[in-house]
Every structure is written in C-alpha cells, then in structure tokens.
Symmetry: C2
Subunit: 682 residues, 2 copies
C-alpha cells in the first residue's frame, strides 16, 4: 500500500513527455499539445535531435527542476526500456497509454511482463498501459491524447474508470452537468496503479468531494472493499459496474481479464457504502448531487417532496416509491402551517403540490423542512419569470439545515443560468423530474451506506466439533455442524442397515424422510436417494428399497418438518472477493428471478439479518397470507456464522438448502459442506 506515492503521478512538479513529436498525427504530438496547458515544468524528449526537445530522459531530468512524471508515448516494444530510463533518472511515476500488451494475448505478454519487472525493481509507479490517460483540470494537467479533454473544467467529482474511454465519457458528462472534474483517471490494464490505489489517494485529495468509480473487472476484491469502505466514511462513492450480461468475449479482448461476477461486485460495493447506478447519466446525476449535499446515515431516508406542477410531481412520487423511499405523512401542525400559505385546491400532504409558487413559497419549504419526519427535501418547479426558486430557498433559511435537491425544467435559455446560479450558491440541482427522483434515491443510498461499518469484523470463534474439520462431510456430519451453530435440525438417526432403520423409525416416529447417506453424493434427490413423507412400516420398506437402489449403503432417517417457506442460505469462497454469503428463496426463485441477497463475509449478525430486506420476495417471509414470519435475528446469526466458517478457512463451502421457515422457527432440512482444501483444521 503506497498511496502517497501517487502524488508524483497526479500532482507532479514537472513532466517529461517521452516520444514527444512534432507530427500532428502521432500520439506524442497529441499528448504534448494536451500537456501544454500544465502549469509546472514540461520537458519534451525525443531520441532524434529536435529543436526544443531533449534527446534523452536523463538530460531532461538533469535540465529540469523536479520532473516527477514521465508520459511515455512509445510503442509497446519500447515501453519497458523507457520506463527503466525514467526510473534511473529519478522519475517516480509514469503513464503508458499505448496498447499492444497483455490484452492482445501472447504477442504482447512479454512487453507487459517487462513493464512489471521494471516496476518491481525500481518502485516507479505506472499508470497503464492501454489507457487514454488522466487529467487534473484544476492544475491544467491534461495527460490525455483525446484533444477535447483539454476543455474539461475543474470541479468536485473524481472519476476512476476501468477504461480510458469511460473516463472521458463520464468527465465530459460531468462538465456538461456543471459539476466539473477534480481528477479523471482511466486505469486501462492496471498493471501497477489500479482503482484501489486511486481510491486511497482520493481520500485525502482536497478538491474531490464525490467519486465515480467505473468497474469492468476486479482483481483483488478485499482491497477494493476496504478502499471503498474507507473512502465512503469521508466522501460519497458512486459505482457503475459493467458486465451484468455475458459480454465476456468482447471484455476479454478489451482488458485481457476474466469477468468478475457483476452481482457479487455490486453487493460488495454496496456493502462498503457505495451508491450503485446503472448508467453514466445516473452516475453523473448522483455524483454531482452528492458532491454538494449528503444526508446523515440512516437505513431509510424519509423525503419531503414539494412540487409546483402536479404531473411531474406524480412521476417523481411514483419513481421514489419504486426506489423504496418513503414520503412520510407530515405532522398535523406542519399541514396546518402550510395550509396558511397555499390555496385550498392544492394537495397539502406529501408531496406538497403548491401549484404555481406564490410569495409564501419559502414558508412552505421551511415548514416541510422543519417536520420531524423529514430527512431530506426535493423541490421541483418549471421555471417561470415569477418563480425565483433560488431566492425562495435562500429566504426559507433551510439551506444547510436539511439536504435539499432542486429539480427544474424549462427552456434551455432559462434552465442553464438557473442551474449555474444554483450551483454557484452551493445547491444541488438537476434537470427534470426523473433525475430529481434519481438524486433523492442516491441521497438515500449514500445515507444507508454511511451506516456501513468501517472494517469487516473478525470472524467469531468457531464451534468446537468432536470430529474436527478435516475429511469428507456427509449430511449427518454437516447437520452436526448446523446443530453446533445453534440452529434446529430434525431428529435423525444414521442407520448402518435396514434393521437399524426399522428400530430408528419407531424411536423417531412417523412421518419420516429416508435418505442415502454418502459424502460423495452431492445431488441426492436427483439420483432417487431421498424419499419424503414415509408414514408407515410398509412405506419404510419400499423407501429403503428405493434408496438402496440409488446406491445407499448407509441410511439417514429424519423426522419430517412442518410446512413453511424454504430458503437457501450458504457461504462460499468467491475467487475475487473471498468468503461470501447468500440468502435466497428456495426452489427455482434464485436462478430464475435472480432474487438473492449477497454479502462479503465476515459480517455481523445484524448486517446479515438485513439481507432479508434485499429480497424481492421478502413479503413471503413476513407472514404473507397467514404464512410464517422469519426470525431475522436467528437467520442473521446463522448466516454470519456460515460466513465465519468460510472466512476462517474451516470449510470451503456450506449450503443449507432448504432452510425452512416455520411457525416455530428456522429448521435446516439439508446441508452440504465442501471441506477446505487444507487438511489441517484451522
């Protein structure tokens, strides 16, 4: 972890352009032109003697005063040598934009390896290769070969994009939105400097008040989780993750990396406190608003909505409901207060539909903002000469007391200056009803994210198991583990032969489940190794026949559970994020509707309990149609414990499927454990 060293990359005193060129169609020429606006020293280097250029990196460094950054405009085959020369000359950071490295396969892998070698040997920090660069508009530092990047305006939002192209897209959109850019980086191949490094750097980057991170693939999930978690404590982070659908062939040609699970990546980022968005427009709306205002940490933001036009107001209210944001009822005295200021025809609840705002609009804003049920305010109006929304907000005295987002519409000639004035006044402002709803949703997600704990808790103590952790796990042993975790299982007996099974059946009582017991069989039901609802001696004999036919040498007899709603819960090792836990509905719901909640483990029982709220089917677990209600505390404790088992390396994977929610609590009906690869117990 060397975040401070990124100062040489993003805040260099001087820059050398290696391979600078006077030929307009060369990369080195575009880069030199882009960097011409840099306020510090700029040295141009070209091996061919050229007026105004040095012929070697060493010369440039010797002649200059504090050249910290080398921008290498050389082909892949020459990149490592130039990088080595830069490091030898005392340069501490470098940018390599060229492609032709690992992403093109074998042909470029050698060039990539050579860069890695120089980084490892010299400690020089390297951004790239395969990126269009980075820019810091506030210092005039534009290390991008896209000419338009020179026009970007300084602002409060940083962009950390997996690809150089998306860094430019997001930055251009931020500029147009009026938010501006504090730092924009395209990670590219990320051979050395990666998104995690930049996120760490941004925690102390004074101009940055909000961060957009664009992710295509993740190399080290834990590092990303830690960096985002540390950053969201101080600054809002908006995350755009690409790869929901299978675009892996194209993605691999682009980055050379294998796809990370989109779903797990999103879950991890959310857990770390980031605001998830679906496209670049949402990213820009969320970040530009969050750079100006954040709500205090709360699980469910309660918004007050004030609209001057009912139609757009209805659209906003509808979309807020879709984002799970409450528009709580206002207190009686708030309603009484605003009734004084509004004509009788208007809707004086929440939303408050004022009709065309009158002179007492500020009083309405102040009344709603003061309501104890309201955490944040959204205000929407179509611009009209008679409506001075900014003055109304100023007169209301609410700015600074409650987070407020303005949504406006109107002809561009009126909207643009109004938005500019609002931003100049430090107000968060967006255009259009849907974006106002998106902005409030981002405020709510960020507020929820601020409750994220600073660091993952230590795994709790593992239960003591008589048989230890090594070796194969059959269902009986897996259920002993579940018992040890304090979760109910049904009475059961392991029976070495049919006679034992007959005796056990009498002892357990009907009805029973009869199952094959064999650690090597993972899908018992599919091979006919499970017979349910065995309710008589005759039925037992035929069940034993069937299970024997499926290959059973040992039988597991188990009492049948009462009915209920079936969940699947489990923990496993994700190749990128390590231990993860999942909670979903049983049956086909998980795979068909993708209705599953994921978290990175270890996590606290409370945090795990909150996973139920992530499920679309949560109502099924809360007494739906007279059905059972899940004990979320008990479920959370179990899921947290499962995560601990995997996080501590005791087992590689454990799945309880089904975990039945009954009137008398949760019951594990089947459990599968995959042992840890190490044979020693933890």
């Amino acid at each position: 972890m060397r975040p401070a060293e990124l100062g040489a990359l993003f805040e260099p005193r001087g820059i050398a352009v290696i391979g600078a060129s006077r030929h307009a169609d060369k990369l080195g020429s575009a880069m030199a032109s882009s960097l011409a606006g840099f306020g510090g020293e700029l040295a141009l280097v070209n091996a061919r003697p050229t007026p105004g250029m040095h012929t070697s990196i060493a010369d440039a460094v010797a002649a200059g005063d504090g050249i910290d950054l080398a921008v290498l405009c050389v082909p892949a085959a020459h990149a490592a040598a130039s990088l080595r020369d830069s490091a030898a000359a005392g340069i501490r950071a470098a940018l390599v934009c060229a492609g032709g490295f690992a992403e093109v396969g074998e042909a470029g892998q050698g060039f990539a390896d050579a860069l890695d070698e120089v980084v490892a040997e010299t400690g020089i920090r390297l951004l790239g290769p395969n990126t269009s660069g980075f820019f810091v508009p506030g210092t005039g530092l534009c290390a991008s070969f896209v000419p338009g990047a020179r026009s970007l305006t300084a602002g409060q939002v940083a962009v950390v994009a997996a690809s150089g192209g998306m860094n430019h897209v997001l930055s251009f959109h931020l500029a147009e939105e009026g938010a501006g850019v504090s730092l924009g980086v395209g990670i590219g191949a990320g051979q050395d400097v990666d998104a995690v490094d930049v996120l760490r750097f941004l925690a102390d980057h004074e101009p940055t008040r909000a961060v957009i991170v664009h992710i295509e693939t993740v190399a080290d999930g834990r590092a990303l989780l830690g960096a985002v978690r540390a950053l969201t404590r101080r600054k809002p982070v908006v995350a755009l993750v690409v790869g929901e659908h299978d675009v892996s062939e194209f993605a691999q040609s682009h980055t050379g990396a294998l796809a990370t699970s989109w779903r797990t990546t999103r879950a991890a980022l959310r857990q770390a406190g980031a605001v998830l968005v679906d496209d670049e427009d949402q990213a820009v709306t969320a970040a530009s608003v969050l750079a100006r205002t954040r709500a205090d940490g709360t699980a469910h933001l309660r918004a007050g909505l004030i609209t001057a036009q009912a139609g757009p107001g209805l659209l906003i209210a509808d979309r807020l409901a879709g984002s799970g944001i409450d528009l709580p009822r206002l207190a009686d005295d708030t309603v009484a207060r605003i009734a004084q200021y509004l004509p009788p025809m208007t809707f004086q609840s929440n939303p408050v539909d004022t009709g065309r705002p009158g002179p007492q609009f500020p009083e309405v804003l102040a009344a709603v903002a003061a309501d104890p049920a309201i955490d944040a305010l959204g205000v929407y109006a179509i611009t009209e000469p008679v409506i001075d929304l900014l003055r109304a907000v100023g007169d209301s005295g609410i700015d600074g007391t409650a987070p407020i987002v303005l949504g406006i519409d109107g002809p561009a000639v009126e909207v643009a200056p109004t938005m500019q004035a609002a931003r100049a006044a430090g107000l968060a402002v967006v255009r259009g009803p849907s974006r106002l709803a998106q902005a409030l949703a981002a405020l709510a997600e960020d507020a929820r994210g601020r409750l994220a704990t600073d660091a993952a808790p230590e795994p709790s103590r593992l239960p003591t198991l008589a048989g230890g952790w090594a070796g194969a796990w059959d269902e009986a042993r897996a259920k002993d583990l579940v018992d040890a975790l304090g979760v109910r299982t049904m009475g059961r007996a392991v029976c070495a032969d049919r006679e034992e099974a007959r005796r056990a059946a009498v002892a357990l009582g009907w009805p029973l489940a009869v199952k094959i017991l064999d650690a090597t069989v993972l899908h018992k039901t599919e091979i006919g190794g499970v017979v349910l609802g065995v309710a008589s001696e005759d039925a037992l004999e035929s069940a034993l026949d069937r299970v024997e036919a499926a290959g059973a040498r040992v039988f597991l007899l188990e009492k049948m559970s009462s009915s209920g709603v079936d969940l699947v819960v489990g923990a496993r090792l994700d190749p990128v994020f390590g231990a993860t836990v999942a909670v979903g509905l049983g049956g086909t719901a998980v795979e068909i509707w993708e209705d599953v909640a994921l978290r990175i483990a270890p996590l606290s029982p409370d945090e795990a309990a909150g996973m139920v709220s992530d499920l679309a089917a949560r109502e099924l677990l809360r007494g739906h149609r007279g059905g059972p209600t899940v004990d979320e505390r008990a479920l959370g404790a179990l899921v947290s414990a499962l995560g601990d088992l995997v996080a501590a390396g005791a087992v590689a994977e454990i799945e309880i499927n089904p975990l039945r929610v009954t009137e008398s609590g949760i019951v594990a009906l089947d459990a599968v454990v995959i042992p840890a690869v190490e044979t020693e117990s933890p």
Copy 2:
C-alpha cells in the same frame, strides 16, 4: 369519433382570447402574450371596455375573419357561460385552462357538468379544463400560460400528455435534444378532447413523425388501444405510463380520476405497437431517434455495433443484452472484409471495436451494414478533430439503406454542433453510450410493434355446451368447458355420496385427488376441501372424512397428474380495457415477482403463444434442468380461447390454476369460472 374537428383546435384560422387582460399577473395576460406570436388573426375579449379589445365574443367573431378557437381565461364559475357564448358565435373549439372543476370534488363538479352540457348541446370541441394548454411551434400558436413555451422550436415529435406540466417537461426536453415539437398538448381533465382524439388527429398531421404519449389514467381502454394501433402503423408511438406504485391519493387530487392498472395499460399499449419507456429522458431519446429512422417490422431486431472506444462499447453491449437485443455474429466474409481495414489489435466481431477510426472507417460501416444478419446499426465514437463521423456515414453510402443511430460524446463545444449537423443531415443521433443502447432498444421495440395486427380479431366461435352458459359453475362444469376447448383434464367422477366415491375410485385408479364440489366455494384448499395423493382405500375414507368436514355434500374424484411446472392462465374483464388474458407461473411467482404476461382479448392464438416470451421465468417452461417444455402453440390456442369466452360475454372470468406443463402436454388441474352477469347465453 370526430377527429377532423380538432383542426379548429390545433389549426385555427383565428383565435379569440376570452378574459384577456393587461394585468401581467393574470392568466389572461400570460395567455395573450403567449398567443401574440400566432400567425393568424388574434382577437382579445374582455367584458370591461379596454382599448384594443372586444367586449363580447360575438363582437370579436363578427369583426374577425374565421375565429375558430376560443381560449377561455375565466374562472371555473364562468367557464360554461363563456363556452356557450363562443359556440353561439360560431366558434368550433375552445381551451379552458383553469382548475377548480371535478378534481376539487363536489365544489367543482357542477362547473364541470355545465361544461359537459354545453359540449353535448353545441358540439364545440373543448380541451381542458385544468391544463396549461397546448402549442404548435410550427405555426407560432402557443396557447400555454407557461412563458417559456413560446421559445419552443418546431420539430417532428408530438407530445400528448395527461398533464399540462408533463407536456411542457417533455417538450422542453425535446427542444434541448434538438428534436423540436410538432404539437404539444396537455389533456388535463379531458372532459371532451382526450388523448384518443389527439392520437387520431396525429395520424394525418403531416409535420408529426413520432409521438410521445404520457398517461396517468385511461378512461376508455379499447379506444386507446385502437387509436394507438392505428397510429403505430404509420408513425412510431412512445408511451410513458405513470403509476407503477401506489400514488393514487395524490393522483386523484390531481386528476379526479381513479387509477387504471399500470400493468394492464402498459401491456395494452405494447400490444398496440407502442414503445414503452420509464421516464422522460428515455421518452425523448426514443422519440427523437424514431422520428428519424424506423426499422422494418421484426420480432427480434439484430443490431450491428461499431465503436471507436472499447469501454463505452462494452457498456452498450451489456445494456443491449439486457434489452434482449442480439448482436449476431457477422458472416465470415464480413469479418474478412473489415479485417482489411482495421489494425490487428481491434475486436473484429460484433461489436466491431475499431479503435480510433481511420480513413477506412466508412468501409467498415458499409461492410457491417451489408451483412445479412444485421437489421440496424449503432455507431459510437468520442469526437476528435480527426474523426468526421458524419462524413464517414455519408461516404459509406449506408444512410437510407439501413437504420443507423449515432452515439457521440465529447466536450459540449464539439458535441453540440456535431449533433446539430447530424440532425440536419437527417441522421438519428444521441449523446452517450447508454442512450445509444436505449435508442437501439427503442428501434427494436418499434420494429416488434410494427408486427401488431391492425385490429383485434373477432372472437372465434364459442364451443357448444350442453348446459349453456347461464347459472353457477362448479369445478366439474368448469372442466367440462375446458374439455370442450380441447385441453386435457384428468379423468374425474362426480360422486353424490361415499358409496359412489368408492366405486369411482376403483374405476379411476390410484392415486387420486378428492375434492369438495361446490360452486359457492372459491378457495377449496384453504378450507381443507382438497386432499391430494390419495393412494389406498383407507386413505380414501379419511380423505372423504376430511372433505366432508369442510362441508362437502358432493365429491369430485380425479386422477392425479404427473409432475411438471405449474402455470396460471386466465381471462377476466378489466374495468377499463375489457377482456384481458394473463399467463404466469403458478405458486407465489405471480404476486411476488410480478412475473405475469398480460394481453387484451380477443387475440390470435399466435399472439397468445408469444406471451411465454414475456415471462422472466420462460426458461422454466423450456426444458429447464430436464423439465418439460411447454407446447406454446397449444397454450396460445387455450389462452386465445379463454379470451374469446370473456370477450364474447359468455363468462365474466375464467382461471385455470394450475395448468400443469407435463412431458405429455398441458393439463388443467383446477378451473374456476365466474358467470357472466347477464343470464342469457351469448
């Protein structure tokens, strides 16, 4: 149906403003100012003698030359009288903007009724009340009291909005997008002129090339369906429906109308060929693109995507996959052709990632456009001085041969003129990767919509039932109907007593279902009136005991079906849209995941068969994990027939739940029929 008469409203020769005012804060003043730009005759009327104004409507009409439209700027209490005076003077259309009518409840209902009376007696067409008006920028006709509306530019997209506010929002956004507005209407209360009237008018409105319709509530579902279906044959229709979530209290205060089902409204609009969108930004993107290019009718648009930057390209590809749009593999000779023009590092499949476009970019465009697998083209690039995307498109010669949408990004100073030039060249262009994906998705939805049949088919002949249609329907009778529709049911017997049941059981064979047979019991299972899996004489006796205890006097015995995947299919009368059909997964899927496909009936068996593709769970019905595959043709025939029963008035509602999909076809396991209210058979 009097669509032609809307010419007086939207294309008047002259206009009279009733209640015109010189006081800037009055509605009549704002309206007179807005209308000042109108090219035809404008007469101002105020009962109080005022210089330059007439003191009566009759005077204004007599003095003028063809006053067709009266814009009434008078309070609710005086609106009907002014409307009557206008009609008496020969004026054929009127706009009433004021509120204070039905939407405020009893206090305004009388004023609303009075307007209705005048309309009915005189035939004058009335837009409003409770709307901010309408505008036709192409003729300078701005009948809106929102001053900014005067700046709207003429264009090719018409807006038909439920609310005046949303008419303005959408129109301002269209202006900013560069599409402009051909006609913008806020329907408001819609007492006379409603969305259906305007949609019919737009079919022949020459400047309009695409239509956005914004819907909060629907009065006559069939009329809407018909108008949209007729319009989509000629022009693309983009539909934004509000009210996904429960915002009914606020909505009612706003429009005075009860909520229509959001889901059914969307299904009907889609069936009629409209493109559904979720917010105003998507609406504007879709309409501005569709105003310039449409793809031919096809169920699955196949797109070719060409990107100059891989990162945005990946985002576009990911989002297209999410919209169900194929990026098919290019033909081998297409790939060979583009390989000549592109550097070896680029991804030469679909998407084609060109890297920075070179001089042979037009050849690449032409090659992909000529590929037989490609229906439409998306092209994305960040602007650079060296990239002249428009010239490339021009040089490629593909414009006009294949629908093409350009997506660009860059600094505003470069993007704005490029977009303007593209539009001037008649090209569809959007800003940003996500909008390009949205635009292609809109093209695909419109192409699918063009396959919509022109008019609903006639209900097919109903089956002949021995007992006719009148009277109560128990399960046995409902299943006789299912049999008559040609769908398999299980062997069954109606048993008047236990002895009959015992004999029937022997005849049918085990295992059996034993059920209460009682037309008055709708939820048999919940009262304990169903016992499944009865497999022996003993079990039969206890099953009969249980069903008797639940109140059974008559028993229904039925063979058990083999296992499979359960569907729910049904038809019912929607209060707004009439006969509708639904197909969903059985169990809790319909209500929890809202995974149900809806259509308006009657519909052809083919169209009904297509409903399976609407389900998120469709894979479950297509041999998922070795499970059965539904016979979509048989299912479509059944669903179509159910729709016919309700559409023809034979029954009020019929639901088959479950309809089991088995290896040997679909089987109806339970059926409930609600008789038609009329007792005579159809």
